[in-house]
Every structure is written in structure tokens, then in C-alpha cells.
Symmetry: none
Subunit: 224 residues, 4 copies
DNA sequence: TATGAATGAGTATTCATTCAT
DNA sequence: GATGAATGAATACTCATTCAT
């Protein structure tokens, strides 16, 4: 009703906000940003738990107490960093789907572009996404929003593909869903989302994406 | 086949041996087995580092000192357990390929069976494989043998598929390799071999395998 | 009796006032009351130090700074609450002695009534009295007024008993003083005023009071 | 049956032993003694929790880890010290009762001696007994053995008095029990067992004991 | 060989108090 | 007067590794 609800974009489509309150005022905000950034940097350098609050305090130039003023625990600080990354991914995907909707006129155009663009979204966010997935394995406060992100992703991809259902032979919904899973699994693996053994991939990234798209297209178009 | 296989049983096709010496004699061997088994059990219960050498000592009924006599460090003990699991996987895969060679007469028979059987091999070994992949992300002494296992796996799959290269349209080698990667990625993801966020998968396992096989077949058979 | 009692209501017969200034005006006073009440409640719930000024600030709806404006420290806030309780005890005892003076006509009437009524006064104030005694063990700012309360108590009891000195055999003053000490010690113990090990007393309260009175009477009346 | 059960005095009549294992061998034992003594000293200097494990480690010349080898936690270390004190009190009381049994021929001899001797037992052990009683207020692992000690004490005193029941007028058992409670309460209070406000007692100790004994005797002998 | 007691560095968290606004 | 965000010192506990016996 008020101006509030009309102007603002709905912050966080994820149920993620509860972890750490963002202060709104100037100095406060700045100190919040510093500790958040310090934590983020350290997490990227070392892994999601391999850092000390003392380090955050020193790098971020904030007192230990300040950290506890915003985040109830080290865990919550870690979660906040991860959740922010999840939100960024959601935004990036949304932008990607909008772009694809304009550009792709048929399945043959859509699939390769989707594979490429989605790969790019994941690649850009891979470092924190890796931490997110690792942590989701044991932390429900990460697996829940993580699941949301994954579901959105799947839903977006399915919706996009089903715009071309006329081109799809057989059970279009089933095929689209399978395609999404296989694409995500392949890209995730290539980006070592899930910390794989062969992290230093020597298999070529570009050919894989191309063949992956071909495979999906062949499958989608195939009549039963 | 090689001279290697005639003289002694081919212990560890992997370059893994440096990690912990297996004593050949009775009492020593028994105590080695006990500490190894205790560590393996604890790793499966809690994760690859979430146990204490004291716990190994108690459960395995061996002294702390004994453990250090066989394994230079806790890390090496963990590595030994993981490497043994990798070897088991290699064996299981070899058995699988032999079986498939007898049973599958054409690509249409081979691909679905391979997907199924490989899925089973991975599923059975998933718990330790998960630990292996997690650890490989930061421990070169695991990522190296892990890479070997992966390469063997890929090579085996490629070789098997190329027996039917006549049925494959276009660049058979490229396609086979792509297929292998995509199958592995999809199965690995489904088994959470990389600790994914959506660990409690609600997507159906059986349909995915079926569609995965269809996709691969459609792709392989497709003429350029 | 004295000039003191005519001009103003005898606020605090104890040398306790230094601890926290009570503001006289409306809003200020109200906020003082709220923080005081919040502290008192928390102390009764958790013990005299087991609460946080942040909790006082939240429950009492006052800012941390306000608390420091009235009380120089957390310790002083605690002291203020305890001292108020001591004053209440003094009032209750004075009322009790006035009542007893009217009702008790001889030693045989006085002693049992005194034991009963004093027990009641202590019982009602036991929760904060317990905190007072605990703290007096190490805080001179509590032990001093605590001593005053105890001395008043002893003096009142002695004075009352000595009204019946004709009935007392031998050194009436010594006997009265001894009786007071023994009565207080026994009641205090029974009320766990001093945090005793056997806090859940199973010994019966009523018989003890009766026998305690008998013991005191037998002693007081006994000729040397 | 074995020599074990005949030679050894039954260690710890209290169910207290579970808190911290006493090592039996030389060097181990010595280090145990050092950390125990250091903790005891610190507790007497500062109170039962007002010390740091680092201090124990330094004063006792043992590593922090060693402390945790014997005591699972700081709390358990504190408990062990307190429990040992409780056991000493039990021994001292037993010795006292044996002595009194030989010396006291009638109630008139027994009561004053008992008051004196019991006062001495409590006085000697007062410092740790104070800590014991304080802690018993919130720690069941102390209140339980504390209750045992108190019950033994009461039972011993009752038994001793009832040897002279012929001299006691009326309900001897009730009177004896009342006398015990009142004596203990009075002595405990005088020794500030329970951290009293007037810790620096100026009332005379000796007269109180004398009058306390008189009071009890007058009461016990009084015919109903 | 085998033992297992001893070591001690390393870290998340709390909360009374201050002081810029 | 009033506020409440910021401070930072202080402390129990873990566990891989060593080495005297």
C-alpha cells in the first residue's frame, strides 16, 4: 500500500535473511561490510571454516565483539556469506533467462546458448558455490536455501525449454527435466562443484559444452 | 596380462602404496587390520577427519604408538582407507566391463546396461567415494590416485563403446568420451558424490537412468 | 522516637544510600523503577550475578546508558537491589516486635511466637536474603549493612526477651543473646540461607520450630 | 575373598570416586598430586571457580592436557577437591565419635564435649566445607555426597546421644534429632559455613559453645 | 617392537563498560 | 540527559604427535 511496497524490489527471494542483520546506517553499515568482506575473502582463500574470527577482526578492522553484534556465531557469519552468494546466483540466472527468452527462437538456438550461459553463471560463482554445496551436506540452514535455488533453477530451465515443446518428441516435460539434471550435473562436475578428485581437469571445457548441447538436442528432438 | 600379473597378485594398480606398510606376519598383520578397520568404520560413521586416534586405538584395541608404527600420521591412515576403497572400485569396474563384454551385443544393449551397472558400482562404493572426492580437493596424495581411477574408468568406457563404433555417427572417439563424462557426472551427482545441497533427492533415480541412456544413445547414433 | 522519625519518613536506616541515586522526578523515576525491577526479577530468577545488563536493558525497557547514569556499575545495581531487601526485612522485624510486645505477656508466650514470626519474616525474604548473605561473604558494601541488620535484629530480640528477665535464671543478658544466635542460626539453616548442601530438607519444619522454642525456654528458665 | 578385600580399608565411604581417576603409578601419581594440590590451593585462595586451568597448569607444573587426562573438565577437578574434603570430614567425625564414646560417661559430659569437638572438626575443615556447601546449592554431584555426609553426621550424633536416653525426658529420639540440628546450625553459622553477612564475627565463640551446650542439656533433661 | 602418558598451541565466545552522537 | 554500538580481554577445551620406558 505505502510507497514502500511499490518502489522496492523484493529483497531476497530466498528465506535466507534471518542469518545476521544488516544495519542500515552509515558507520554501522561500513563496519558490517568490512567484516563481511573480510570473512568472504578468507573463506575464498582457505575454505569455509578454515579461518579465525581474530583474522576477520584484523583484516576487517572491526572488534571481535562487533562481529557477534551482527552474527550470533561464526557459523552464522559463514552462512551469511554463502547465502549472499546464493542470491547472486539467483539474480544472474534470472538475467540469463530473460536474455535467452529474447535471443533464442527455437530449440536449436536455445540449448547451446543455455548450456553456455548457464556454465558461465556457475563458473563465475563457482568458488562460493563450492563452499555452499559442501556445507549444505551437513548444515540445514544452507541446504534449505540451497534447495530453493536449485529448484528455481530447474523450474526456469524447464519453463524455457517447454516453450519449444512442439519441437520435442514424446513426453516433453520428462525430457526437459532430464535434460536440466544432466546439464547441471555435467557443468557442476566440470567446475568441481562438489570438490572432485580430478579437480585439475584436462578434458576440454569447450568441446564438452558443445557435445553436451548436441546430446540434449538429439534427445529432445527424437521421436519416441 | 603383463609380466606384472604373473609373479604376484597385482596389489594396487594405483600408485598408492607409499601410504602405510602392510605387515606380512600374523600378529602384526592382525593388529594392522584392526586399526585399519576401526578407522574405516569411524570414517564412515563421521566423515574422513571427524574421528580421533584415541578412538581408533580403543575400537581397534591397538595402542596409539602402534598406529604411528604403521602409518606415519593420521592423514596417512585416512589416505590408506581411501586408497583401499579406490582399489575396490577399480576391481568392481573391471568385473563390470568383463560382464558387459559378454552380454551386450550392440550399442542399444550396451548403453543402458552400462548406465545401470556403473550406477550400481558407484552406489555401492558411494560412502567412501564421497570421502575420497572431498579429500582429493585438497590432498594431492588422494587426487593423484583418484585421477588414475577416473582415467581408467574413462578408458574402459571408451574402449567398450568403441567396439560399436560402426553404430556411432560422426567422431566416435569424441562422442564416446563425451558420453562417459556426462554419464559419470550425472550418476555422481545423483549419488551426491560431491556433497550437494539437495542431498535428499526427490527426483526419481530409475527414470533418470533410463532417460540418461536414451539421451546417450540418441546422441551416439545421430549422424552428423 | 528520635527526631529522625518526625521530619521525614525514615528512608533507609541503613548506611546504604551511596549505592545508586533515586531520582525524584516522574519520567526519570519511572525508568529507575523499571531497571530496578528488571534487575530484581532477574536476580531472583538466576542468582545475583547471573544476568546481563543487556537483559536488564531489554526487560526494563531502558538503555544501557541509563543504567550507568543511575548506578555506576553492575555491582552497584546488584547492591541496590540487595539493600532494598535488607530494608524491607528491617521494617518487617520492627512490625513483628511491635505486635509481639502487645501479644506476649510472659516468656512462655513470647518465645514460641517469636520463633514462629521471625521464621516467617525470614521465609518471606529468603530469596533475596540468600543472595545478600552470599554476596556479603566477599563484598564489604553488602556485609556492612548486612551486619547492621543483624545487629538490629539481635538488639530487638534481646530487648524483647529482657522484658521478661525476672523469669530468666542466671545471667539474663548472656542467655538472651545466646538464644537469639541459636534461633537465628537454626532458622537460617532451615531456610538454606547460606546455600546448604541438603537444600531439600526433609526434616520437618514445624516440629523443629516447636522444639527450638522449648529448648530456648528450658534454657532461659533454668536456674544456674 | 582375595587378599584385596581383607587388607584394604574401604576407600571412600562416599559415592564420590567417579570424579577423576587417581593413577596408581609413581610419576603419574606425582603429577596427579601436583595438579590436585595446585587446584586445592587456588580454590582456597580465591573460591571454588575463581581460578584458571592455566594457573593450575603453571603452579602444579603439569600441562593442560594432563589435567584433562585425569579430570574430564574443570568442574570435575573442583568436585574432586571438594569430595576429598568431604571424606576427610567423615574420617574426622568417626574418630571424634570413637573418642567421645570412651570419654563421656553421662549426658552432662557428652554434650559439652560433643559441641566442642564437633566445632573443632568443622573449624578445621571450614574453608573447603564452605566451598562444598556453596557448590552443593547448584551442583547435584556435590549435593548428593554432601547429603550423605550430613546424614552420617546426624546419625552418629543421634546414636551417641541415645546411649544416654535414660537421662532424656520425653521423646528422646525427637529431642536428640532436634539437638543435632540446632547444634550444627549454630556451629555452621558461627563458622560462616554458608557465607554469612557478618563473617567477621565479634560475638565470642567460646561462650556461645558453652551456652549452646547448656541449652541442649537443659532441654534434653527436662521432663515433659 | 610396543605402549600410552604427557604435551601445549590454538580459538570461539561473553559481557561490563565507554563515549560519540 | 539519553542512547546503544563498539570494544577486547580473558578462558576452557581438543587432539595429533612424541618419547621414555
Amino acid at each position: 500500500m505505502s510507497s514502500q511496497s511499490t518502489k522496492r524490489k523484493p529483497r531476497s527471494p530466498l528465506a535466507v535473511e534471518q542469518v545476521g542483520r544488516v544495519p542500515q546506517q552509515g558507520r554501522s553499515k561500513a563496519s558490517y561490510e568490512r567484516m563481511f568482506a573480510a570473512a568472504r575473502t578468507l573463506m575464498l582463500e582457505r575454505g569455509d571454516e578454515e579461518f579465525t574470527l581474530i583474522e576477520v577482526s584484523q583484516r576487517g578492522n572491526v572488534s571481535i565483539g562487533s562481529i557477534y553484534l551482527r552474527f550470533e556465531s561464526k557459523d552464522n557469519l559463514v552462512r551469511a556469506v554463502i547465502c549472499e552468494a546464493l542470491e547472486e546466483i539467483v539474480s544472474a540466472e534470472e538475467a540469463m533467462f530473460e536474455r535467452l527468452a529474447d535471443e533464442a527462437r527455437d530449440l536449436g538456438e536455445f540449448v547451446p546458448r543455455y548450456v553456455n550461459d548457464y556454465a558461465e553463471v556457475l563458473r563465475v560463482n563457482a568458488p562460493l558455490l563450492r563452499l555452499a554445496m559442501r556445507r549444505a551436506a551437513f548444515d540445514p540452514l544452507i541446504s534449505a536455501p540451497g534447495k530453493q535455488v536449485a529448484d528455481r533453477s530447474a523450474a526456469g530451465a524447464n519453463r524455457a525449454m517447454l516453450r519449444f515443446s512442439a519441437e520435442i518428441g514424446g513426453d516433453a516435460a520428462l525430457k526437459a527435466d532430464s535434460v536440466y539434471h544432466i546439464i547441471f550435473a555435467t557443468l557442476a562436475r566440470e567446475l568441481s562443484l562438489g570438490s572432485t578428485a580430478e579437480s585439475a581437469r584436462n578434458y576440454d571445457w569447450e568441446p564438452l559444452k558443445r557435445e553436451l548441447a548436441r546430446m540434449c538436442l538429439a534427445y529432445l528432438r527424437q521421436q519416441p
